[in-house]
């Protein structure tokens, strides 16, 4: 410092400018080694400043504001950010979220006062006999009569759980209060035969009835519920009458002192429910079966106080611990793994934090983020099957205890297993999620915050297949015939875990490697009023299966070799029954084996192998008919299958094509044909330049074409007719001789194409036509469109001359389009094809998604189909879930979820193929995206191959436009709601495709009916149009390369989009639906030369747009093509009035289409009603 002062005295004006820097620099150096006293510096600096004159201060004001010397806290914070978080952003986001979920003081105050009044009320309760209780006892047990007297609680009620640890979490805040039964209520052998639980329930009922009469609680709503879907644990739910009741719920637990019974009575190997309770006989000589799960149930109450003490000591007063737990709770709840009897509850999380603290893996001063991270880290690498314990002096060997449970986490007393009801699969799922969370946090390239905390991913969206057994008769049958009695005693006859155990064991054995996990999907049970009987719950089962992509679709299950392991073979044979056959394999082995399909089966059929196995096992082992259970897999796959009304037999082709096929199964044929063509092209000898690369860019080359592609294309009177044209890009070898004039270059390209065509004809006898877009080639029933790509063309398109005569290359729409088609799309297409090879569900997911969007009348012009592909690819690429799905249906549900919950304006979808975006590039892109949001399209997609165009290549501001995005979000939400309700309800069947894949016809102003005989039907399974009944099908092939409907709609949009929006179904739609823009567009306006489009003069020298004139224009443009123009209301009325609606074809084949129509109508009643509201509300208006 002294040195600086010296300098100062010599040249004050100059050093002034330096001093500032000096301080910053000293402070900065101190930041490197951490502990220094930077505080001294600012003091010094202030002095200097004071000695200087006002003018100088002003001069350096700017520099000053930027370069304040950093304080110790700031340095610490910055370093914290760098070391712990990857960016400030994550840290700030976490901070914001914590602030958002922070409990508001009005709630905590209310809870405080409530507990006070409750304590007073409870202590004033009088002892009494049971008959004073007027309410139903919330327990479903066959009761034995015994003496029970209500005694006033001796200890005060206490807050437990989240309320005690200060980690209450909204939106519905649930405050748990424990009330201890006095010891005098129990006799010494009450621990046996469920007497404890009955007393507990009676006590709860008495408390409820007595409190209900007290003035302080009279107005509140009383209800019973089961804690964690456990029928032995009824709780009282109080909803306050005050305004807070909307968001607040108080639950009263009844517990007991731990001293009333010896804890050792509840060791896992002891029996506390004698078989006689259920009227069963037990051989005296045999040891009684262990009731470890029931024991844990009782121990939960007895050890509650002790455990609570430990949690309090860990969490009270430590904001960092509380916030850490809150973060974890948010994370857990978003994944819905904490639901129900078998859930991984937040209580376990809290105990685990206490455990980690005990193990000194967490420090008192760890930040909340560190806590969450450590927990994830530890959880990811943990193995609780061997058992861990919170107890300092574990009374019994952990390994012995662990043998009785799937997962073992002993509490502070060492007797109670916190994870007693947790199945292994759920624990494993939580571990996998934790591992994923850590990976996301470590990945610098993803903004993990929203993945971890914000995105809800309901458990069912992670399941590939779902099995539902809800039929009461079959449940009874399972319970009575197949469940082992000791399991029944163990769970005190609670059906759900028994079913779960029975089926998981069976399926696990039968499916083996095919399945990653079998998880129960539970729905929290709903409360019931205090004066009704307790409902019976758990008499249904929903199992979710996560499949292993590598093994799930194997066609063969091989048993042990007969000659080596005769016993094993016999057992195998017994397990599989008649399905098992002795087979001789190519390697010479002779083994028992079960064959489920043939290797050549279509992929969609192979995806159903697991379903086949499960249904067979249920039938063979448990005598459940397939009709008695619901197996949800591949229900929506039908939408991309070939329509049954097209008869494949009529097709002339050498390929073997079955009638029941789909777009996915037909794709390999196309690709084989394309490969053959590519070989032929490569072999063309006499071209002046070699062909270097050939790449297909049509969606079918990446398994993304939802309309089945049959080898139908043919030559009719010298014109190629084809349903679809497959685009192929050819690149030629380099040559310096290409002209540098666009016209000349294109002329030469065309000449080249002619030459290629001529040679193909000569050498390979292929038909070809030259057309404006390129070369149409007919091969084996497919029509290809070859295009030449040349880099010079791109350069010439970009070329511009600046004013100084310098040549520059600037992107413009034309060049961008060309670059996309010729250079980027081939690479993206390749990447997506590779993605499909890796995840077989990618292609079919895209197919379903595209079909869905098309069915909502969103065509390519409104929603580019490549956007669908890239969004689905994004889903498959990013690691949102531990397992990528193997089922297209689940993929589609996730796609809907993405559409429904994405924040379009804030999210950038980046497909980092091959990881080629560097961290810096991603940050830059995101930065520019955030700061100049308006310069990007409303849906922003970027891939690894279009870095210089980042985000502007695949979508534009018009497709999809903001209103379309909004509508898609709305539609997706609605569809998801339908799916979710049908999945989770025990009664409903899974949604039929007709419910999802048919848009509502409401909200449109005009419908232009087109002549059905001029438009060919789609080859997809057709679910009908929202406006008209099925018409005569027409599978005539159009001329190759002209999609008239698409073209005319494009024209209409170009010319009239200021006045109307146009919709049609690109997959065989035969109507054009029109919505007028708001009336303001049609109001009279003053005469202005530049705003005169479509206007006619009206009164007062003003002009206005006339709708009728526009309709005349539409008619003119669609001359000979439209049948009539009418409103949807008219159509509807017509259909109602005439039983047989007016058909625009002549009678034949009427009887056939009639049937599906009826079905369809029935099916669509539910969604259309709901949808009607939806449409009318916002979306349609928003579109204008």
């Amino acid at each position: 410092m002294g040195r600086i002062k010296e300098k100062e005295s010599k040249a004050p004006s100059l050093s002034e400018s330096h001093t500032d820097y000096e301080y910053a620099a000293t402070a900065a150096t101190s930041s490197d080694d951490g502990f220094d006293e930077p505080n001294r510096v600012p003091v010094h600096k202030r002095k200097v400043q004071l000695t200087n004159g006002e003018a100088k201060k002003k001069k350096f004001k700017h520099a000053d504001s930027n370069v304040k010397p950093p304080t110790l806290e700031e340095i610490k914070e910055i370093r914290d950010t760098r070391n712990l978080f990857h960016s400030n952003l994550f840290k700030l986001q976490v901070k914001e979220m914590l602030e958002e979920i922070q409990l508001k003081p009005k709630y905590s105050n209310y809870i405080e006062t409530w507990i006070e009044t409750f304590t007073i009320t409870v202590q004033e309760l009088k002892d009494g006999l049971l008959d004073t209780c007027e309410l139903e006892v919330p327990l479903h047990l066959h009761k034995k009569s015994f003496n029970f007297q209500f005694l006033t609680p001796t200890s005060e009620p206490k807050l437990i759980g989240a309320a005690a640890t200060g980690t209450l979490l909204g939106p519905k805040i649930v405050v748990d209060v424990a009330l201890e039964m006095p010891a005098a209520c129990f006799q010494h052998d009450d621990y046996r035969n469920l007497i404890y639980d009955q007393k507990r329930a009676l006590y709860l009922a008495t408390v409820a009835s007595k409190i209900k009469q007290s003035p302080a609680f009279k107005a509140d709503q009383f209800a019973y519920n089961y804690h964690a879907n456990n029928p032995l644990k009824p709780v009282l739910e109080l909803t306050p009458a005050s305004k807070l009741g909307k968001y607040l719920l108080l639950r009263v637990y009844i517990t007991a002192q731990s001293e009333i019974f010896k804890l050792s009575r509840f060791l896992p190997w002891t029996n506390n429910i004698r078989p006689s309770v259920f009227g069963d006989k037990w051989n005296e000589a045999e040891t009684l079966p262990a009731t470890q799960h029931y024991n844990a149930n009782v121990l939960f109450d007895l050890t509650l106080a002790e455990n609570q003490k430990l949690l309090l000591s860990t969490f009270t007063g430590r904001r960092n611990f509380q916030e850490g737990l809150l973060l974890l709770k948010v994370w857990l709840r978003q994944r819905q793994l904490d639901v129900g009897f078998s859930g991984f509850s937040a209580h376990i999380l809290a105990a685990y934090i206490a455990y980690l603290k005990q193990q000194r893996l967490l420090h008192q001063s760890s930040s909340s983020y560190q806590i969450a991270r450590t927990v994830w880290n530890q959880l990811a690498n943990s193995d609780w099957t061997q058992g861990i314990t919170l107890s300092q002096h574990q009374p019994h060997q952990l390994i012995t205890l662990a043998g009785y449970y799937d997962v073992c986490f002993m509490d502070v007393t060492g007797y109670y297993n916190l994870c007693a009801n947790l199945p292994l699969a759920v624990y494993k799922a939580v571990c996998a999620e934790a591992k994923l969370a850590v990976e996301l946090l470590n990945d610098v390239k993803v903004n993990s915050f929203s993945h971890i905390f914000m995105q809800t991913s309901p458990l069912y969206t992670r399941m590939d297949n779902i099995l539902k057994i809800t039929n009461p008769a079959s449940v009874d049958q399972l319970l009575q015939l197949h469940v082992q009695p000791h399991v029944k005693y163990d769970y005190a006859n609670y059906a759900h875990p028994q079913l779960l155990k029975l089926l998981t064991d069976l399926l696990q054995k039968g499916l083996g490697q095919r399945v990653h996990a079998i998880l129960p999907l539970e729905v929290p049970c709903s409360p019931w009023t205090v004066d009704t009987k307790a409902p019976v719950i758990g008499r249904s089962l929903t199992l979710g299966l996560i499949l292993d992509p590598e093994h799930a679709h194997e066609v063969l299950d091989k048993g042990p070799a007969t000659n080596e392991d005769a016993n094993g073979a016999a057992e195998f044979r017994k397990f599989w029954g008649n399905k098992s056959n002795l087979r001789r394999f190519q390697d010479g082995s002779i083994t028992e084996a079960v064959v489920w399909a043939t290797a050549t089966d279509a992929p969609s059929q192979k995806r159903l192998i697991v379903r086949q196995i499960v249904l067979y096992l249920l039938e063979h082992q448990l005598q459940l008919e397939p009709s008695e259970v619901q197996y949800i897999a591949g229900n929506l796959d039908v939408v991309y299958s070939l329509t049954p009304s097209f008869k494949v037999a009529k097709l002339q082709t050498k390929l073997k094509i079955q009638q029941e096929t789909d777009a996915e199964a037909l794709t390999p044929n196309v690709i084989h044909c394309y490969d053959a063509l590519a070989r032929q092209l490569h072999s063309l000898g006499d071209l002046p330049l070699d062909i270097v690369s050939i790449s297909g860019i049509s969606p079918v080359f990446r398994y993304c074409e939802p309309q089945p592609l049959l080898p139908q294309a043919r030559l009719v009177s010298d014109r190629i007719h084809a349903g679809q044209v497959l685009r192929v890009i050819i690149q030629l070898g380099p040559s310096g001789k290409w002209p540098s004039d666009l016209g000349a270059l294109r002329s030469l390209k065309t000449a080249f194409l002619i030459q290629i065509g001529q040679q193909l004809k000569e050498q390979h006898h292929l038909h070809w036509h030259l057309c404006k877009d390129g070369l149409l080639v007919l091969k084996q029933g497919y029509c290809f469109l070859l295009e030449l790509a040349h880099s010079k063309e791109l350069a010439l398109l970009k070329q511009q001359q600046t004013e100084r005569g310098v040549t520059t290359y600037v992107d413009n729409p034309a060049s961008r389009e060309l670059e996309r088609r010729h250079y980027i799309l081939p690479r993206v297409s390749g990447a997506l094809h590779a993605l499909h090879q890796m995840h077989g569900a990618f292609g079919p997911t895209v197919l379903i998604a595209k079909r869905w969007l098309a069915a909502q009348l969103l065509d390519d012009g409104l929603w580019p189909s490549i956007a669908t592909e890239l969004l689905v690819a994004h889903l498959f690429q990013q690691r949102q879930t531990p397992h990528t799905t193997v089922s297209p249906q689940t993929g589609f549900i996730r796609f809907l979820q993405l559409l429904a919950h994405s924040d379009w304006s804030g999210e950038l979808f980046l497909l980092n193929f091959n990881n080629s975006w560097t961290e810096q590039q991603i940050t830059d892109l995101e930065h520019s995206y955030r700061s100049e949001r308006d310069s990007y399209p409303s849906l922003c997609l970027a891939t690894a191959y279009d870095q210089q165009h980042a985000g502007r290549l695949w979508t534009s501001n018009n497709s999809p436009s903001k209103p379309v995005l909004g509508r898609v979000t709305l539609l997706a939400r609605h569809a998801l709601q339908l799916i979710e309700s049908s999945l989770l309800s025990p009664k409903l069947a899974f949604v039929r495709p007709a419910q999802l894949f048919m848009a509502s016809g409401d909200g449109y102003d005009l419908v232009i009916q087109l002549k059905p005989d001029l438009l060919s039907n789609t080859l997809c399974y057709d679910l009908g149009s929202p406006f008209l009944p099925f018409s005569q099908r027409n599978f005539r092939l159009p001329l190759a390369g002209c999609d008239q409907l698409a073209k005319v709609v494009q024209q209409l949009r170009d010319a009239y989009s200021e006045y109307a929006a146009f919709f049609y179904n690109p997959h065989g739609g035969k109507e054009l639906a029109i919505v007028w823009r708001p009336a303001s567009e049609f109001a009279p306006k003053p005469f202005k030369v530049n705003e005169l489009q479509a206007c006619t003069p009206c009164v007062g020298g003003k002009v206005q747009v006339d709708r009728d004139t526009l309709v005349e224009d539409f008619k003119l443009l669609l001359k000979d093509f439209y049948l009539r123009v009418c409103t949807p209301q008219e159509l509807k009325r017509e259909q109602r009035e005439h039983n047989k609606p007016k058909r625009y074809f002549n009678g034949q084949g009427e009887s056939e289409p009639d049937k599906p129509q009826k079905k369809k109508k029935k099916a669509s009643t539910i969604p259309t009603n709901a949808k009607k509201r939806l449409m009318k509300s916002k979306s349609m208006n928003a579109l204008c």
Binding site: L92, T456, L770, C771, V806, P1097, D1108, D1113, L1117
Partner: protein, 266 residues
Amino acid sequence: MTEIEGYRVVPLRMSPDAKHCHSVYMREHFIRLMDPNKPKGRTLFLLNVPPYITEESLQTFFKRVGNVESVLFAEKPGRDETAKWYEGTDVPFSNVQTPFKFKVAYVVFQKSISIGRALALESLDLYNSSGECLIKTGMELWHDDYENNYILDVEKTQKEINDYMAAYDKRERAALAAAKTSEADPDGWVTVGKDGRNAGFEQKESVIGRIESKLEKDKKTKELKNFYTFQIRESKMQNIVELRQKYEEDKQKIELLKKSRRFRPF
């Protein structure tokens, strides 16, 4: 006979019995800076021409008031609008079409007397004596378009290509010869091409950029970055400033996100 702001308003009828018609606004074309393609006194200016109207149809129609020299379209009135409208259509094999929008039209007559006659018209009837529309639309148009424009006749195309290439080669040779002469033009300027003895470097952005960046690099290598203490100090200070700036930026982002309520997990 309607007139509005000096424009004559006439209905545009596509068929004899058309009820709802577009109104076309006509007047004589007149602006101060005249375009040689739209000569003064002989050009009729039409506003609000529907998208499907073609040059030929207008030409055919206006023949009844006098011989038409040309018909030009533009998106809106303005100096270079016509050029913009037709941009790119002259390049062969490039699929560029004029936009399909409401437009304005300039009809250039051979004689100025035709203007007066045109302005006296009661309506623009784009149909012939038998009531048939002059413009092809709908199926007819698509079919025509497919046969004549989409599918190309090979021999004709080949001939077109040969002709175009021959013309192009000629142009190129002429340009090359002109570049080699290196004679001064009347103003005394000599064009220096990229060929020849006195070739300059190519006037391309990339080439210039490369040279500039090389100069920049040379300058940098000569400069010492952390030689003086103050330089080290400054770089450290810069570091802190950047960190702070980043922090502030992130904070702003959060503010933005907060507005869109993205922090409620449920």
